[in-house]
């Protein structure tokens, strides 16, 4: 209808449960420098920062959406696409590369049916490449759900994930 509805003072209807976000934002409202910690906390809960969430945060902190989204898209710590329950990080540093991390990456991605950076369709995993994580001694290395697996062959890497999958 009328384009005046693009105004932020017109509240759009959002299909996300905002209860948790509101609880978090209550601690930050009106405080200077609150944006980044607030974003971190909200992301911790929702795993990633969807557009309706970012819009909600902007409105609640009385900031321009352009400002908030500018920050969100600037820092790699903030995710703007869905994240799985567990993150699988495949180290692509030099040592791991030499020990065949590319094959591990390719095989894992094929097994889970995703490209690096994407989330599996069941919402369980997000696969991503990282730079050296400082464990070159046990290269090649992956970190899945916070646990580090080292000195892997492709088969071991796949096994680690499959076990993970079945809840081990």
């Amino acid at each position: 209808m009328c384009a005046e509805s693009n105004k932020e003072c017109c509240k759009p209807k959002i299909a996300v449960d905002l209860t948790a976000a509101n609880e978090i934002l209550d601690q930050y409202r009106g405080k200077p420098g609150a944006l980044i910690p607030a974003l971190q906390k909200v992301q911790e809960h929702y795993r990633w920062l969807s557009q309706p969430l970012v819009e909600h945060i902007a409105r609640e902190l009385n900031m321009f959406l352009s400002e908030v989204y500018g920050v969100v898209s600037f820092y790699s710590q903030f995710y703007t696409s869905p994240r799985g329950e567990y993150t699988i990080q495949i180290c692509r540093g030099t040592a791991c590369h030499v020990k065949g991390s590319l094959r591990i990456l390719e095989q894992l991605a094929a097994e889970l049916g995703v490209e690096p950076g994407e989330m599996t369709r069941d919402g369980k995993f997000t696969v991503e490449e990282v730079n050296c994580i400082g464990a070159c001694g046990i290269a090649p290395v992956i970190v899945a759900g916070g646990k580090t697996f080292g000195s892997l062959t492709v088969a071991q890497a796949l096994a680690a994930i499959r076990n993970f999958d079945s809840g081990v």
């Binding site: 209808m1 005046e4 509805s5 693009n6 009385n62 959406l65 898209s73």
Partner: protein, 896 residues
């Protein structure tokens, strides 16, 4: 405090400049060219593009002139072979990602990058990279963004944020993938003002309306004034031969200093609309027939003369539009008074700001806003009442937003509606509709009780204080809270802020005036200025936020039944004599009919003929049924307009007029700034400027007003109107003149703000009033508020005929609070019927919570949703304004 100056040397030239200036400022002062891309005078310094690099003796590295402060004794070189090489590299790097399609780029010939490449002789893409494909962003109706051409200078982002306070744009992603645009490619908050467009140094942002219409060198520019609201923005009309191509603005000129709103910048294509009136039309049995000018004017003159002979001059009345020039309004009332012989003249101001004219005259003796708009930017406290200012007087709204953000101004808003400006308010008082007077009186009560009033000021500069102070004793915060729903604590806070600020201004709009007791509201606001000593000096003003571009001028020119030009009363013989001498006729001494009275008389068969110039009366008048039946009862109706409006269709004769882009004249904006309107293109067909039509019509009636140009009319105006004395077209060449302008020399900009010497008694007068609570009615549970929105203006005669504006907002609607919508089972976009005691109208529902439950809103710009069919007006008894702001209605969902 004396400014400290320092002296430095730039390219062997000595420059002195205020301490704190940058090297670039110093270079500009000497007209030494330093190339820049990311620098813009009004915006914060960015220092990103590195084009302004200069060498300072004794420094190892080159520095950015735009961010480096000039210091005493500094020796600067702006062109060395090293600098040229650096700049060349910078430009080459920029061109790396920039498609070289200058030949078909809309900014070709007017692009900073092109100019730089030319100056530095950058000819080839040295790195041989291929530019990646980026899409263009077409989501903005008026502005296309081409990511490939963007140099990430960030000017558009800063302009949108710092100047407009909108923040629709940002930098997203990082490193090589950095882009500038809308968050999520979504136009949140964008107001389509085009400020971003106006600062973009290259062709990354272009106006879709004018793209590929013309090359910059084919375009001629004419400086003029915007035809929409009373901010009176200076505009540059750009035309290619006979076609208006584009409207732009320029920093540093006019009231707006480079700012425009979407109506001013993009709302111009109505000028070349297909259905402009191009020939006089006379109504016959077979409908309207085109006739020549001579025949049409003969006919009009004959009928007017006949009616005058048979029924007397008082059977004829005239209504002038507030969008015509001062000269035209002056001639209109002269025609009615001198040629016809009646004081039955009135103008659109009656419908919106009659209480301001009456109230300001009564209390101060001047019928105008007291201070200039620019002063708002540095006023310590502003009280804004009854105005959606960021939609209806956009530039004044921006000044207030900038004041809050940059000057630390405290803003108090009194309005039931949640609006953009309420987000900027320190205190937002949200009264029940129609209870504003109680709120204002509550503030006055608290100030007086707390001893915050300015006793010395009151003793020296005001009258009627004792009676006034008694009259507000009843308005204790508690009682006001009960009457209005505004918490007492908020009232206290607002009163304290306003009273204790060093400087303060009061601004109010039609939410205050268009009420049954609008005059009392206005007078109470004036009381507030007087009580707190915030009047008669800089940054202490009362602003009547008027709607159309020349409402002020139409009143100044005496298109009023009780005042001759410049508010000289018709009842006083010495005033009449002055005009009688000049015009060579005897003038009627009786007050004429006010606009609403004209309609009543017409309905009663006591008024036979009407002449309407530039007003779509049946939609402008708040009571549609009454206006329609009145015009239909007339024997003879002449309508002069640029379009065949619904009012024109009722006429016996339609006279085709020229639009603002086609004629010469002056307009007076709401801050009393008289400015020149200049023609850029010829009028279509045989259409003529209103002043020409009036001159020719007067000849046909037998009493000729012989003028050959608007300048001649202005010469007469400046002789007969004390406030316009010494105004002439030469003096108006630049930024215009604030009246009162007499200075004996005919130079200078006139008077920006009134002092007490300018007020009639040298003092301001307190007023008292009775408080009347708004009336309720059982069968109509909702309060309907009508008003304006950002995308349109007045009856939409111009804005709705503009493709862009009518696309953005094609039709009317009714805003319903979600709670009410739930109860009635109404969903967004559903058709509802709105019923009042006098009519019914259908509209689509827009569910949002700008108003509290129980209140609904409908915009009043749409002929296809004539909100005024629902309204039965109540006349304000002194100023004769037909009050219309609130109507009681019921709402039904349709199709159930």
């Amino acid at each position: 405090m004396a400014e400290e100056f320092i002296t430095l040397t730039i390219d062997d030239i000595q420059v002195s400049i205020e301490k704190g200036s940058t090297i670039l400022d110093a270079a500009c002062k000497q007209n030494i060219y330093v190339p820049t891309l990311c620098y813009q005078p009004k915006l914060t310094r960015f220092g990103a593009c590195r084009l302004c690099l200069v060498e300072i003796e004794g420094f190892r590295k080159l520095v950015a002139a735009c961010t480096t402060p000039a210091t005493e004794g500094m020796v600067v070189h702006t062109r060395t072979s090293e600098i040229d090489a650096m700049r060349k590299t910078v430009v080459e790097l920029l061109l790396l990602h920039h498609p070289l399609d200058c030949l078909t780029c809309d900014r070709g010939g007017d692009c900073e990058l092109q100019k730089l490449a030319f100056n530095l002789r950058v000819s080839d893409d040295r790195f041989g990279f291929k530019v990646e494909e980026y899409p263009v962003d077409d989501s903005n109706l008026f502005i296309q963004r081409n990511f490939k051409k963007c140099m990430l200078c960030g000017k558009c982002v800063r302009a949108c944020d710092e100047v407009r306070n909108v923040g629709a744009l940002g930098f997203f992603q990082r490193g090589f993938s950095t882009v500038i645009g809308y968050p999520y490619n979504k136009l949140v908050n964008c107001e389509y003002c085009g400020q971003c467009l106006s600062v973009c140094p290259v062709g990354a942002l272009i106006s879709k309306l004018s793209a590929f219409e013309a090359r910059p060198w084919e375009v001629d520019q004419v400086r003029s004034v915007c035809a929409y609201c009373s901010c009176g923005c200076s505009v540059i009309l750009e035309h290619k031969r006979d076609k208006l191509i584009k409207i732009s603005s320029r920093e540093g000129i006019g009231a707006n200093d480079g700012l425009l709103c979407l109506k001013g910048r993009f709302g111009y294509d109505f000028v070349s609309a297909d259905n402009r009136l191009t020939t006089p039309l006379v109504k016959t049995d077979k409908g309207f027939m085109p006739v020549g000018w001579a025949e049409a004017l003969e006919f009009v003159a004959k009928r007017f003369n006949q009616i005058k002979r048979e029924q007397g001059a008082a059977a004829i009345a005239g209504i002038a539009g507030s969008r015509c020039t001062n000269e035209e309004n002056y001639l209109f009332q002269k025609f009615m008074r001198a040629c016809i012989g009646t004081n039955n003249v009135d103008n659109y101001a009656r419908l919106e700001h009659a209480p301001s004219v009456t109230g300001l005259m009564r209390s101060l003796g001047v019928a105008a806003t007291t201070n200039s708009l620019a002063e708002l930017c540095r006023t310590d406290a502003i009280l804004l009442a009854g105005s959606n200012i960021t939609a209806s007087q956009v530039i004044a709204g921006i000044f207030i937003k900038q004041a809050v953000r940059n000057h630390g101004t405290k803003l108090i808003v009194i309005d039931p509606r949640s609006m953009e400006i309420t987000r900027f308010a320190d205190v937002w008082l949200r009264p029940k509709p129609g209870t504003d007077l109680a709120v204002i009186n509550g503030l006055l009560h608290i100030i007086l009780k707390s001893g915050w009033h300015q006793q010395q000021f009151i003793a020296e500069y005001t009258l009627g204080f004792d009676e006034f102070s008694k009259s507000i004793a009843k308005f204790t915060p508690k009682r006001v809270e009960a009457l209005t729903g505004v918490p007492a604590a908020q009232l206290e806070q607002a009163a304290q802020i306003f009273a204790q600020a060093d400087t303060g201004a009061v601004a109010y709009g039609m939410g205050i005036t268009q009420q049954p007791y609008g005059l009392d509201n206005v007078s109470a606001l004036i009381n507030l200025s007087l009580l707190t000593g915030k009047l008669g000096r800089e940054h202490c003003g009362i602003y009547a936020l008027r709607s159309s571009c020349n409402v002020q001028g139409a009143c100044d020119m005496g298109v009023l039944p009780d005042y001759l030009p410049d508010y000289q009363s018709v009842a006083q013989a010495e005033h009449r004599q002055k005009f009688e001498q000049s015009w060579g006729v005897k003038l009627p001494a009786d007050k004429g009919l006010y606009l609403p009275q004209m309609l009543i008389k017409a309905q009663a068969g006591q008024l036979s003929a009407m002449y309407i110039m530039g007003e779509n009366l049946i939609h402008a008048y708040p009571d549609y049924n009454q206006a329609l039946s009145a015009l239909k009862s007339l024997d003879f109706l002449v309508v002069q307009d640029i379009f065949p409006t619904d009012t024109a269709k009722l006429a016996d004769v339609i006279l085709p007029a020229a639009s603002y882009a086609e004629k010469l004249g002056t307009c007076t904006n709401m801050e009393r700034r008289v400015q020149q309107v200049r023609p850029a293109v010829p009028a279509p067909g045989e259409a003529k400027a209103d002043w020409e039509i009036l001159v020719e019509l007067s000849r046909a009636t037998g009493l000729a007003m012989n003028y050959t140009s608007p300048a001649e009319v202005m010469a007469e105006i400046s002789q007969l109107l004390p406030d316009y004395r010494d105004i002439n077209y030469k003096r108006l060449a630049g930024d215009g003149v604030f009246w009162p302008a007499q200075d004996g020399e005919g130079e200078g900009e006139g008077q920006r703000y009134f002092t007490f010497e300018d007020f009639a008694e040298g003092k301001g007068r307190f007023s008292t009033s009775e408080y009347h609570p708004p009336a309720g009615e059982e069968n109509y549970p909702f309060i309907l508020i009508t008003g304006g929105i950002l995308f349109h203006h007045a009856t939409g005669t111009m804005s709705r005929r503009t493709k862009g504006l009518s696309y953005l907002c094609p039709e009317g609607y009714i805003e319903i609070n979600p709670e009410d919508a739930d109860k009635l089972g109404i969903k967004e976009g559903e058709l509802v019927e709105v019923v009042s005691s006098v009519g019914r109208v259908q509209a689509k529902a827009k569910v949002d919570d700008r108003y509290q439950p129980g209140i609904v809103f409908m915009p009043n710009h749409f002929a296809n949703m004539p909100v005024n069919k629902l309204i039965k007006v109540k006349l304000e008894t002194v100023s004769h304004l037909p009050a219309s702001k609130y109507t009681l209605v019921d709402i039904h969902k349709l199709g159930v």
